[in-house]
């Protein structure tokens, strides 16, 4: 071990420790869902946003609250309803009168001006309202009138969706779904976990998450993620996975050709790579492995595939398509890498 690497080894070890600490802290309030928590935290450190989808009552909102409790950041919750207006999200300009009677316009910040945003039931608001948030997610800034207001970093949006009760909702268009780094599916807990949930939520013992990471520390960790190197063959593996989601490409499996209308955009590859870097660091590694990429493939791509009519009619899930893609794409293609 040389002096040059001592510093980076310490940083990586610290990252791993803090990552685990944060997950553990969140886990105080949330029973089970270990993978969900890790994905959400990965999204945080990947400087992206996460969409949670699950039936009501599984703890989506509670998870986000626990996250916000565990980090020293501002948190705001936006409950999306059909009558929600964009100004309700981004803020609006109001006329205020000073003590001297002078009236002026003042921009009142909306709930989007926080570090961690819970956009609850995002699919219930109108597209116009959705786009206001989505613009903020993409640009990390809000434009009102001619003024652009930057959002404080870190800026992390957690959207939730209910797959039931689709009537009267406005499903996010694919172009806007693309803004989310990951889409995480929340499923039912097992029996033991449910028992513990009952104990916690109906008993007197309700552990609360305490803040363990500061905003600055989170920003440092976000910067460290960007510094992780990735080998060429790992990058190509991620690219091949994304290409395999496109029907009639040379690597696409039969299920993609049969059920997929459009495959993933390049944002999907970015999401996989970013998520893989975070995962590598969270395991104390200094490089990204193909295993990291394949683990991030489903969360990163499941919401970026558009099924065709046949896929919809057959009730094909994008996860099934992703399983076929991962099986069909080899981690390394002999002869296509440059020998060192």
């Amino acid at each position: 071990m040389s002096e040059e690497t001592t510093e980076v080894r310490q940083k990586v070890e610290q990252f791993r420790t803090d990552f685990d600490k944060l997950c553990t802290e969140i886990g105080k309030e949330i029973v089970g869902y270990r993978d969900l928590i890790r994905l959400i935290v990965t999204g945080l450190f990947g400087r992206g946003h996460v969409l949670l989808e699950g039936v009501p009552g599984l703890g989506k909102t509670m998870t986000v609250r626990a996250l916000s409790s565990a980090i020293h950041t501002e948190f705001s919750r936006i409950q999306f309803t059909p009558d929600l207006m964009p100004a309700d999200i981004v803020g609006t300009t109001v006329v205020v009168q000073g003590d001297d009677g002078h009236k002026e316009f003042r921009f009142e910040r909306g709930p989007v001006f926080a570090n961690v945003i819970l956009a609850d039931e995002i699919n219930r608001a109108t597209p116009k309202t959705q786009s206001a948030l989505l613009e903020a997610m993409q640009e990390h800034s809000v434009t009102v009138g001619s003024n652009t207001h930057s959002l404080d970093e870190p800026f992390f949006v957690l959207g939730t969706q209910n797959p039931l009760e689709m009537e009267g909702t406005y499903p996010l268009p694919e172009a806007q779904l693309d803004r989310f780094l990951f889409k995480v599916l929340i499923d039912y807990l097992d029996e033991d976990s449910l028992v513990e949930v009952i104990d916690r939520t109906t008993g007197s013992n309700n552990p609360k998450a305490e803040p363990v990471l500061s905003k600055e520390r989170i920003l440092e960790m976000i910067d460290l993620v960007r510094a992780v190197p990735i080998a060429d063959h790992v990058k190509r593996y991620a690219v091949r996975i994304a290409r395999a989601t496109h029907p009639h490409s040379d690597v696409a499996p039969n299920q993609v050709n049969q059920f997929v209308k459009f495959g993933s955009s390049p944002r999907g590859i970015q999401a996989m790579i970013i998520g893989a870097k975070v995962r590598a660091l969270s395991e104390g590694r200094y490089h990204v492995a193909c295993e990291d990429v394949s683990e991030m493939a489903k969360p990163a791509l499941r919401h970026r595939l558009i099924l065709n009519f046949e896929g919809e009619a057959e009730d094909i899930k994008t996860d099934d398509v992703m399983d076929a893609v991962l099986q069909a794409v080899p981690e390394i293609k002999e002869g296509q890498t440059a020998n060192a």
């Binding site: 193909c290 390394i332 020998n339 060192a340």
Partner: protein
């Protein structure tokens, strides 16, 4: 700027693994190639001989080795893929493969530090696996199935071997003795001819001597019959060539003999006595030369002298033709005698046991099967026959089947005459002709010679099974009368 540690330990490890990969690939490709070629050979073996199959097997094996060498040496080994395989086997999660690819020049100093850490960890992670841990060394499926095409190749070889004819049995003592006697007789014939035909070509004599030598070797009766037939065929061809040459010479001599000078010799020429004719021509020539000398001394007229000279020249030409005819006649005589001898030997050998083909051994027209001990008892008599074949011209027909020569066969006799012992059937018929008691318009000797020539042609064409030839030959010899019964004026003839 962080100084990156050397990647050489990882490269060296990967090179070692790549070499091992090539070796494993060589054997796997060899196994697969040999399997495929064995399947091809299993099909081809049914259409070629055993020795060809053997050579093909060696060739295919060599081809398989070359293919395996090509596959192992010529196909590049991807070092990153090898490193990845190592990572998967050891569980280092792409550490070695990433270290080989991550180069100097990462954007941020921190990036370089990461690369340095990766290289350090990769170097520490080497030496934990060998090539056979990474690549399957288990027997490929094709090699496991290799016994199947190999057995399939052996099947036609086994079929070929089991259908091989057994080696011919050693010749029975009686056959050996017969062959030795035949060889001695042929040698005697050749020596006699050599003395007499010193000026003639000796090729035919040499062929007879060669056959004689061959018969003295350890040869089976079957091979002896083949040799006899082969020589007979060659000599018969020569005989035909000489016959056609003789006909040309006879025509030419006949033209030259038209004048008065050859009047005395013409009769001898017609009778085939060319030596006598030549002597007469010589006498005539001597007379003419005396006459010429006389004329020259007396200084006779030029035309007269020229006339005599022309007559002399013509007679000399005729003499030359007659001498050629005489020599040709002797050579023909030798050939015919040899052919007859060969035929007799062949016929006698055919009667002995140990012949190829039961139908020939057993089929004796009009004769019952002889037990083996009876055959051995007759051996002495048969040996005598071989030693003096020319004095044993024919045995006559078998009265048991053919009955008296003048009696027509009844239906019952016809049936009886069918082959009794042999496996095959044969039929025979009889030709009944009218006999009006009139004189024949064709000279007996002429008809006889024509018939004999035709019979010889039939026999020498070898369309007749060897065992039958002697009987057919005897049949025609029956027709040939002896001196007491020859009609008057029939003349000598060959």
């Amino acid at each position: 700027m962080t100084n990156l540690p050397s990647i050489e330990p990882v490269r060296s490890e990967v090179r070692t693994l790549a070499t091992g990969r090539r070796k494993i690939r060589f054997f796997r490709v060899l196994g697969s190639a040999v399997f495929v070629l064995a399947v091809v050979l299993a099909v081809v073996a049914w259409f070629v001989t055993t020795s060809t199959t053997g050579w093909l097997a060696l060739g295919f094996l060599a081809a398989g080795v070359l293919i395996a060498i090509g596959g192992a040496l010529l196909l590049p080994v991807d070092h990153i893929a090898v490193a990845k395989r190592y990572d998967d086997a050891v569980g280092t999660k792409d550490l070695l493969s990433s270290s080989l690819e991550l180069q100097q020049g990462a954007e941020a100093p921190l990036g370089q530090a990461f690369v340095a850490a990766v290289r350090e960890d990769a170097a520490a992670a080497t030496g934990k696996a060998r090539s056979r841990d990474l690549y399957p060394t288990s027997t490929p499926r094709e090699v496991k199935w290799l016994p199947a095409p190999v057995l399939a190749v052996l099947v036609p070889i086994f079929v070929d071997w089991s259908n091989e004819e057994p080696p011919p049995p050693p010749p029975a003592p009686i056959v050996r003795a017969a062959l030795d006697e035949s060889a001695a007789w042929l040698e005697e014939l050749a020596n006699r001819a050599e003395d007499a035909l010193a000026d003639l070509r000796l090729e035919s004599i040499q062929k007879v001597k060669n056959l004689s030598d061959a018969l003295k070797e350890k040869i089976s009766k079957r091979d002896a019959m083949a040799e006899l037939a082969r020589l007979a065929s060659q000599l018969d061809k020569e005989r035909k060539d000489l016959e056609s040459r003789r006909m040309e010479l006879e025509k030419n001599a006949a033209k030259l003999a038209r004048g008065e000078d050859a009047k005395d010799a013409r009769r001898d020429m017609d009778a085939g006595r060319y030596r006598e004719a030549a002597n007469k021509i010589k006498k005539k020539l001597a007379k003419l030369e005396e006459e010429l000398a006389e004329k020259l001394r007396k200084k006779a007229g030029k035309m007269e002298i020229e006339k005599i000279k022309k007559r002399i020249a013509k007679l000399k030409e005729l003499l030359a033709e007659l001498e050629k005819l005489d020599a040709l006649g002797q050579e023909l005589g030798f050939l015919v005698e040899t052919l007859e001898a060969l035929d007799r030997i062949e016929g006698q050998l055919g009667e002995l046991g140990e012949f190829d083909g039961e139908e020939f051994d057993e089929a004796q027209l009009g004769r019952m099967r002889r037990p083996r001990n009876a055959q051995q008892q007759d051996g002495q008599q048969q040996r005598r026959l071989l030693v003096m074949p020319s004095s044993e011209a024919g045995k006559g027909h078998s009265k048991k089947v053919l009955g008296g020569a003048k009696r027509a066969l009844s239906d019952g006799d016809e049936n009886e005459a069918r082959l009794r012992e042999g496996k095959g059937k044969s039929t025979f018929g009889q030709v009944k002709t009218a006999n009006d008691g009139s004189r024949s318009r064709t000279a007996f000797q002429e008809a006889l010679m024509a018939a004999k020539r035709d019979a010889d042609d039939v026999i020498y064409r070898q369309n007749i099974p060897v065992g039958y030839r002697n009987y057919i030959r005897r049949y025609f010899e029956i027709m040939q009368p002896d001196d007491r019964t020859r009609p008057a004026g029939s003349g000598e003839g060959r």
